[in-house]
Subunit: 483 residues, 4 copies
């Protein structure tokens, strides 16, 4: 079996969060919400609800639809709810690390759903453990829970603020006790988070696409550094943290967010088309047609086609029946790993000079395979165009990029990458071109993966890619039990 | 739970078949082959193999990847194999009706994988039962098996010919005993069937896309009325049936076949683009852009855009995480059934006049929902264009169309359909336009669903839509057991 | 994993049957009935019901409680029902061989539940196949179904009689169509079958213990050669077959039947005590106590104790948590296979001379292990006593004994068996002693396994132990799918 | 569905523990060990292993054989291991409450397997939570883990002693870190715990029967108040607690322990026989035979028979196929709940005067049903004899008795109980008779359930029966997910 994630060789988003306050069918709405956010995490899913007195939750490994069904949703009663989808790095792929994370502590029940990454979690965890704390998971988010449990503050919102002032990094999070929801976004605003309303209910979501699905009205983005308290008195907004220069993740535009979402104030598909147009302006080439690599390269390809006046066509068609796993008989077949997912239309490609558009290029391994594949289908010339700049540095704020040594652009000149993926020409979009295309608030983006300027420095460069210490205990996973 | 098939309100293909003779990893190749043919049937899947002495098989309800995994494939040893994917009408959705159908009879083992529909199966079945025959399934294909078992012919190929001379209708089929494979396509050539080679192994497939996946060489289509015998002496082609006017199913081009397949001599994506161009020529309209309904309308939309010079854009984006079932909380949400699968890009659509392209229009119910959905996203004008003629008659040759009364074009004028789906204008492609676009061999197509001229008359108009008689026995299905 | 059947190294009963006619909760009663008959077959279970128009059924591998639950039972509506538990020889252990066997044929639905074995089934099957018949299973019982389907008789009972006149061997069977139940017992009366009533409903059962559980009134045994027709006109008894000397299976008393059942006119526990008393009279020995091997040896041990005046004690206690499979770490432990099930009470056994009672001795392998085990627990002397005569011949009438070469008494003198199982003395009950203990109708028993006098001669001595021909087709079993 | 536990209406043991130090197949041995201890807890099972560096564990709901299979055992590598079976009161029946409980804390990995009950756990938990501790389960045992985590002691054994000096109640427990095993038994010695050796490996077990199964040598009981440290330096015994009067649970003899175990210095079956003899001496009656209620009443019945000279017979036979759940069609049948498990042998009972022996009588409800059942089978007179004194008080030391109000002997005179269960006569064993039968160390037993003298007073009489506070969070259980 080979895992076939959403797209090979792309950075991975860690998580998506969704919350509902004030709707009698909170679990149903949350199910739909995380269904719409599925692209932000495919490894585990979970929903926690409260009826004002008791919390009930279910989490599991797999897609939202693997984890939930109608009967399960019906067993989650309550008017407030938070949901979570998660992708995680290898090594901690078990249900103990699924969210929402739910505990019972001195003051009652507490749940947290977190999108982002805390860069000083390991240090805090070590200190708490020395005092006798026992952690249940290897998630950085659990640190926030312990800090809340130790706080002497009476009100949950005050304890949350106290805890968040200790942690550093990125977070868009939803915390609930039995009858109150606290929503917070870190002062840098790394990850998106927005507020909607469905009749009288408040809806929280990582992206607007989830609001659209449940036909909720988009109210506004939750501001960086904003903290919402939602309870029977309604919604109260506060700004308890020191204001700071914003650092939105530009990769939400390039690859992560769904094209129909509005993120950081603009529609994602239109930004991607603009990136494609900018790319066309920067790196024209004589060719017969523009082909996007499905699905993430299609918006930029359309933009490139419009700007360059080269016709757009489907030279690679995505197979919609590809599941998450696939039996790869490597002994007998070479290209099947790519071919199972992308189907070249030989009659379109044969003898043609194509501009091939992808949104980003990480390791280069998959791109190389696709190129080989297209050549075998008869393509004459391939001019590879990437609608983002070269990725040279790892991310510490909630995205899973490979270690720096595996980022092809970190170690190779463009010409050497061109030779590796074996195309007639290769061009990336420039940082300037990208910022121009993303609109007027260009100074508000985190460009660390491109230029290495990290808005928040991790404590220790060598091990900052993961906050986990060695796991000494291991429960057999469901997968192990079945093998 | 609501089932979300490949596309709502589209005709359904009954089946796809795939076979391998002469490869030591026949089951692995067949797994890949039916994986590539998944679009032809999503209800059940099966593989039967033979090592020359014993046959081994596995079938199950669900997608190929639900039914098979690496361990199961490894338990299917042999150098010859046939595989099948199936969609069936309601009422017989159980594993007894999955194929390949495998029996042991007086002369040994026998398996059949069949794509098509026999219009006189019910009659033959009745006669055989009167003589004491006991049927295991409600599939028309089992009739062929019983006819073979009753034949006095010594050789399997002779018994098959004897049986096929009795049945009427459409069939692309693969029959195997322990050491011989018989491949046959009905004289009308309703369904496609092609021959490939992988080194020395013979490969049989409903469509060429499956040959591409396993990197087999496409040899040729198997001709209407052709019967192949493949055994240790190699491949022998015969034409045992009376030649007859060909009647290829034009819907394979319009909707069924995969865009990267070559069917009836032409690439499907290119034919669809040609249909879109023809549609643009026939029914131009002043608009801001062309939007295809994913995924089947995209090729025609691209053709329409090229011919009309109206820009093509993504106004509806398909959600790739939609599973086969989905919890629809109908009590609280109206459009979620459409919205879970198609995501409108409001920023693209708002205030725009669009040409909306779909490949076909059956009941009109889904189109109506999509239109409503697009209007709510702010679309100003919607000009609906269908890249095929109005469907007015049911199909008896292996496609599941609704009963005539449910075919909207069978009972309504175009203007009344336009009002029902609520668009500014509605145009279908003409039959002539369609035939011109499908190329020079236009006289070889079955147009019965458009014009009612059936190449083979069903015995009895009223019950010919299904060949099944009432089922008196019912085994509890896996689904029932779990509910 | 090692299978731990009901008891190691014992003959195996093939089946138990149970039927209900005229009760609105027929499926529930049948579930209870086959639950009570579980000891007659632990490999598969099934229930078929009819509401007068349609038949519905469910069958599965495993114990009754593995196969059925409340929800499944609730999905089996009808006023008539038949149920079956089965043990089968290796090679055909799959759900296709579970019963009731249900088919749809020219005259409607038909189901059969059969306890017994047809010795000429292979021959008849071959003849039917030559005429084109296709069999679905490798069960001898399917032969009866095909013979019924081919009968020209209008009435089901007449077709059944016609079919049963062709087959030879043992059968206690329940046949149903949509609205009629036919019950038949072979003229030899090999297997038990009885009739009960629960209010107005007729109940059929292999043993009376199932009547007791559902609180039905025992009416009478169904006579050898009797055929009942039960339908809306009530119950009609006929005797369509030639009367013949009865041949009741004496092993039903010795080992198979449940101790609380009344079989062939006597209570089983009391017959077993009588066998134990007879054994004590025949082979007295000086010892400290009588120990029965649980559970089947306990009744006889109690009889031996009463007759011999030696105290009865629990020196071996059965572990009631032993499941059907068990992980045997053979690398590290020797006796665990016995020890997991039988727990010696060392404080009872230490230094004692015991009379160890078992009901029968087949291969001797398990007895040898138990003896070794008892010696390690400190037993001083072991005098093994068997409450039945030496088994020297295989059974062809529905019991699974090993091949003759594996029957220890077939090839060894008693002294050599004694040495093999390593006891101070070994005695069997004599045939005469056994017949005296089983009561006045001693001449009505089949003693073939003891004396080789077969009431119905099998066609061919060499292969008659199984009626199956080689299976050329094999469907992957659920177990294989999970491994 | 109705749960059919080991025996209805009996007190329930909470747990059994088993440990291995110094064997390369520690998990396999532990699997066998908890298999043998299955009678001490049927709700959940678990095993944790350590290879000296990492701990690996698996726990699940159900019987040992439901939770483990060979493949799972093979995935648990290590030379030290602890296992646990658990029965729990309703309300906390979920896998989070299964043991061994395993955590990672500041000093590494830690696991605990506990048999017993801490009467001051709720109080300690409340104090720890106030300081910010977060508990994962509602088990009292987790309190010990938190106390260890907070200890400043460097050595695990010192931290354990510090923790155990704080808790009050009963405990036989096995604690492990990555390379050390600590075994402790509370100073009262409520629950049994013994030490064995298998070659060089140390074996710990609640009962000796588990040593027998793996063929380990019984070394000795672990003394009340003893604490063992087992590591690479071998085994070291200490007695860190204040010596105190022993209070062995006499119910281990009466009902819990397996008859082949040696507990508190004597074989359980022989003690039970002695109790039966004492009972016969105290309450003779004129009758035809002695019948024990299977299985727990059989040993005492045999003793009663020997002493009274009344013959012992099997009038009630246990059905060995009874699973853990059972569909009870209460609408149609009255006695099936008893009848599915106990089968009366009418031919033995009819017209007879019997002495019916049971080991204990708690609520009386089941006894009443069995008596009714026996009468319907024709029994003429029933003289009920109980081989233990009347239970009048709840247990706080690890046994689940009903609340005091449900203990029939707590609220009713014997005559009134006799009338309720409807027997000709009823007698209990006297406390004096019981103590005489249990041997010379009679003063070492806890008799609280009979006389209300609690060796350790619970903090608060009203809620002491459970140490849990209200659970505010609830994860959907596997069972809920499947319903």
């Amino acid at each position: 079996m080979e895992n076939l994630p959403w797209d090979w060789d792309k950075p991975k988003e860690y998580c998506g969060v969704f919350g509902v306050y004030g709707h009698e069918r909170a679990a149903q709405l949350t199910y739909l919400g995380i269904y719409a956010l599925q692209h932000r995490g495919q490894e585990s899913a979970g929903i926690a609800v409260s009826d004002g007195k008791h919390m009930c939750f279910h989490r599991g490994m797999g897609l939202v639809n693997d984890v939930f069904n109608e009967k399960i949703i019906d067993k989650l009663p309550g008017y407030m709810s938070s949901g979570h989808v998660r992708y995680s790095t290898t090594g901690s792929s078990n249900v103990a690390n699924a969210q929402p994370f739910v505990v019972q502590y001195a003051k009652g029940a507490l749940t947290i759903a977190h999108n982002g990454n805390l860069i000083n979690a390991a240090k805090i965890k070590g200190e708490l453990e020395k005092e006798g704390a026992i952690f249940q998971s290897s998630m950085d988010s659990e640190v926030i829970v312990h800090l809340i449990a130790r706080s002497r503050k009476e009100k949950l919102e005050d304890a949350v603020v106290e805890a968040l002032k200790i942690v550093k990094g990125s977070y868009s999070l939803i915390i609930m006790n039995e009858n109150k929801m606290i929503v917070a976004r870190d002062p840098h605003g790394f990850r998106p988070l927005c507020l909607g309303k469905l009749n009288n209910a408040y809806i929280i979501s990582s992206e607007t696409c989830a609001l659209d699905l449940i036909e909720a009205k988009f109210e506004r983005e939750i501001a960086p550094g904003e903290l919402l308290v939602i309870d029977s008195n309604g919604l109260k907004s506060t700004n308890p943290f020191q204001p700071i220069q914003h650092s939105h993740c530009v990769f939400e535009y390039i690859y992560f967010a769904r094209p129909d979402s509005t993120v950081f104030g603009q529609n994602v598909h239109l930004v991607r088309k603009a990136l494609g147009k900018a790319l066309a302006r920067e790196s024209k080439v004589s060719a017969d047609m523009v082909i996007g690599i499905p699905d993430s390269g299609q918006s930029a390809a359309l933009g490139y086609s419009e700007e360059s006046r080269l016709p757009f066509d489907y030279g690679l068609i995505r197979n919609h029946y590809v599941g998450r796993t696939f039996i790869q008989p490597t002994q007998i077949l070479r290209n099947v790993g790519v071919g199972i997912k992308l189907n070249p239309v030989k009659e379109v490609l044969r003898g043609k000079r194509i501009v091939l558009i992808d949104d980003s290029l990480v390791r280069g391994t998959t791109s190389r395979k696709i190129v080989k594949f297209l050549r075998e289908a008869g393509t004459k010339e391939i001019h590879f165009r990437v609608s983002s700049p070269p990725i040279k540095h790892p991310c510490f704020y909630g995205i899973d990029t490979p270690f720096q040594k595996d980022l092809i652009a970190s170690n190779h000149e463009i010409e050497s990458i061109r030779q590796y993926i074996n195309v007639e020409s290769l061009r990336y979009l420039s940082i300037e071109g990208m910022l121009k295309a993303t609109g007027p608030k260009a100074h508000n983006f985190c460009l660390a993966c491109f230029d290495g300027n990290y808005p928040v420095k991790p404590d220790n460069d060598t091990n900052c890619h993961t906050i986990e210490k060695e796991e000494l205990i291991r429960e057999l996973t469901e997968e192990q039990l079945e093998l």
